[in-house]
């Protein structure tokens, strides 16, 4: 029975011990848990495990198939690397949060039904927010609250969608969902929020850069790639995803160019990379879905590596603002080198991991004849090199000398970066190992001379553009600023609307209540006037006047009837 435990539950249960273990033992434990999870995952044959009956439905806690396995493997690698990178952190909160968050993400990937998916979906939100709050700043606190509201909101949509589907189809199985029913649309939106679709994206750029140096590394791996997995499972071949994905690849890179905080630049480029995966899901062919899974795999590694290098800078210097950095390669040469490996990988240089995964998605787009999509993806590829490949290492480690001479990153950080860098190069040089664990059989050659030449031309000329713009002084200088993004809608407009609504409501309320009070007062006054001690109706009338009025009435009666 123990052999059928979900690796996710293993990490969550193991996290309980973290606060009570002494520091050294705790480090061993944090690294041992993902290793044990990996052993569990690799020894189990495909199948459904851990089934429970619940309200007449069968819940499957561990569904192992080709798609969930590849995401499970990379999530466990990410949990290990993230744990190693954060090994020096003394506060237990971060470690517990990271383990539960990783475990919940694994649990969601292995969930065979929508109910258990929902439970783990919400758990990822609640567990991960502590990685942001652990930063301990006012900004982080507020960003964490916004993050939590949006993430939990995504879960609420998922719950509504799954209940609707349950009522409609009588099943909560998590297979292909599609956009046919209202339940499907709700679930699509829930996934879309976590996947940072355009206009639903800004929680990512808002919250991730506010987390701790080590927390962002963990955050970058799970939530969004869980959403990519969920989309691949439930909405493969949904055509609108092609357009959504293409928009995602293109618009964040403009922001990345003018953003000053380098970790926020990385958050924008994370958004852009998700776009490629979403396009793959939308195309939905075997090659495209393989490309999506492969790109999620390589992306988690190089994005973690990039966030690690910036995390090391933040840890040593206290800021990742490009305006404050520069020349750090002199005292942080190893971190610089690892950062460049990550930058080359995300830019999809041949022999680095991004190349062997992204070209699958681009090829899938061309095979299906999506010309305009292909053009956008190509533009985004040049753009990602521009801001992640060049801007990140250049402004942090080179550019003008900031005069800062921080120490090299701590040993555990360096080892974590080294492993991630080796994996990035290893996958780039020997893609067959990655291709072997993809959901479908791979019949694809990334290294054709035509492919390699195209990519090298694209990248070198993109570098040329950067060089020319920089040397001619056209390149926009880095500066302290907040650039308005879609969060302006709720952080500014929303706030103003709320304040405005409140002010108007107060006036309306005053007016309504004032007039009601006046009406009542008038009514009471009238009552008093007519029925009060000296009122008209309370007066005593002489009998004679009544007799007179009766006589008048009778006469009128008589006259009317005679006519």
């Amino acid at each position: 029975m123990i052999a059928e435990l979900s690796p996710g539950l293993l990490l969550i249960a193991g996290a309980v011990l973290v606060p009570v273990l002494p520091f050294v033992l705790r480090g061993v434990w944090i690294l041992a848990l993902p290793v044990a999870g990996m052993a569990l995952l690799l020894t189990l044959p495909a199948g459904d495990y851990g089934q429970v009956e619940f309200l007449g439905q069968t819940l499957t806690l561990l569904r192992l198939d080709a798609l969930s396995r590849v995401f499970g493997i990379i999530f466990l690698i990410a949990a290990f690397l993230g744990g190693l990178f954060a090994l020096h952190v003394r506060a237990a909160t971060e470690h517990v949060s990271a383990l539960v968050y990783a475990g919940a993400s694994l649990g969601a990937v292995f969930a065979g039904d929508l109910v258990s998916l929902f439970v783990f979906w919400e758990l990822t939100a609640i567990a991960s927010v502590f990685l942001i709050w652990s930063r301990g700043t006012e900004r982080a606190w507020k960003a964490g609250l916004r993050y939590l509201v949006i993430q939990v909101g995504s879960g609420v949509l998922l719950l509504a969608g799954l209940l609707e589907r349950w009522a409609e189809t009588g099943s909560v199985e998590f297979g292909h969902i599609g956009l046919d029913g209202p339940g499907g649309v709700l679930i699509f939106l829930a996934f879309g929020i976590k996947c940072a679709f355009p206009l639903l994206h800004n929680w990512l750029q808002d919250a991730y850069p506010e987390a701790t140096p080590t927390g962002t590394v963990i955050l970058s791996a799970f939530t969004t790639k869980l959403a990519v997995y969920a989309l691949a499972r439930g909405f493969a071949g949904t055509e609108c995803l092609i357009w959504i994905g293409a928009a995602m690849t293109a618009f964040p890179i403009f922001y990345a160019v003018i953003e000053n905080d380098l970790r926020r630049v990385l958050a924008y480029s994370l958004n852009n990379q998700l776009g490629f995966m979403v396009v793959g899901v939308g195309i939905g062919t075997e090659l495209a879905l393989n490309g999506t899974a492969a790109h999620a795999f390589t992306h988690i590694l190089y994005k973690a590596l990039l966030f690690m290098s910036m995390g090391a800078v933040l840890y040593r210097v206290g800021t990742t603002d490009a305006t404050e950095l520069g020349g750090l390669h002199k005292t942080m040469p190893l971190t610089t080198g690892f950062c460049i490996v990550g930058a080359a990988s995300i830019s999809a240089f041949p022999l680095f991991s991004g190349f062997v995964s992204k070209s699958m998605i681009l090829s899938a787009a061309t095979y299906e004849g999506h010309f305009w999509i292909w053009l956008v993806l190509l533009f985004a590829s040049a753009g990602v090199f521009h801001h992640s490949g060049i801007k990140i290492p250049f402004f942090a480690f080179f550019a003008h000398d900031s005069g800062k001479r921080p120490k090299e990153a701590p040993l555990n950080m360096l080892v974590a970066m080294a492993i991630a860098a080796v994996l990035c190069v290893g996958i780039g040089v020997w893609p067959s190992a990655l291709y072997a664990i993809l959901p479908f059989a791979v019949d694809y050659l990334p290294y054709t001379d035509s492919h390699v030449l195209s990519q090298v031309q694209l990248l070198l000329f993109s570098a040329l553009a950067f060089t020319v713009l920089l040397r001619t002084g056209v390149y926009p200088p880095e500066m302290h600023a907040t650039n308005l993004d879609s969060d302006w809608l709720y952080r500014r407009v929303g706030r103003e609307v709320l304040h405005g609504t409140y002010a108007i409501a107060r006036q309306v309320d005053n007016a309504v209540r004032g007039s009601a009070v006046r009406r009542i007062e008038r009514f009471l006054y009238g009552l008093y006037r007519h029925h009060g001690p000296s009122g008209f109706l309370a007066r005593s009338w002489p009998t004679g006047s009544m007799v007179l009025w009766v006589a008048v009435l009778l006469t009128a009666y008589l006259v009317l009837f005679d006519l």
Binding site: L458, A465, T482, L484
Partner: protein, 86 residues
């Protein structure tokens, strides 16, 4: 105006001629890969990318457009750093 700590020798990259060397290497590399278009037969998926020099030109123009557009965007979107905290 030298904010470099005095215990530090100027690095290899601090010398102007080395930076120029890097830039020239890049220019040369660009020229080489562009010329390779004559040699390597490209397996084209659309007619556009069979055009000579397409990837180089698209990469360069795309990048310049990206930066110039972002520069214009900044004029509209830029706010003080504490914009949301006020």
């Amino acid at each position: 105006m030298n904010d470099r700590p005095h215990d530090q020798k100027p690095g290899w990259l601090d010398r102007r001629e080395n930076v120029r060397l890097i830039a020239r290497t890049l220019y040369a590399a660009c020229a080489v890969v562009l010329l390779l278009d004559f040699v390597i037969h490209r397996h084209a998926d659309f007619e556009t990318d069979a055009t000579w020099g397409f990837y180089g030109i698209y990469g360069f123009v795309g990048s310049v457009f990206l930066v110039m557009a972002a520069k214009q965007m900044r004029r509209i979107l830029r706010r003080p750093e504490d914009y949301y905290d006020r």
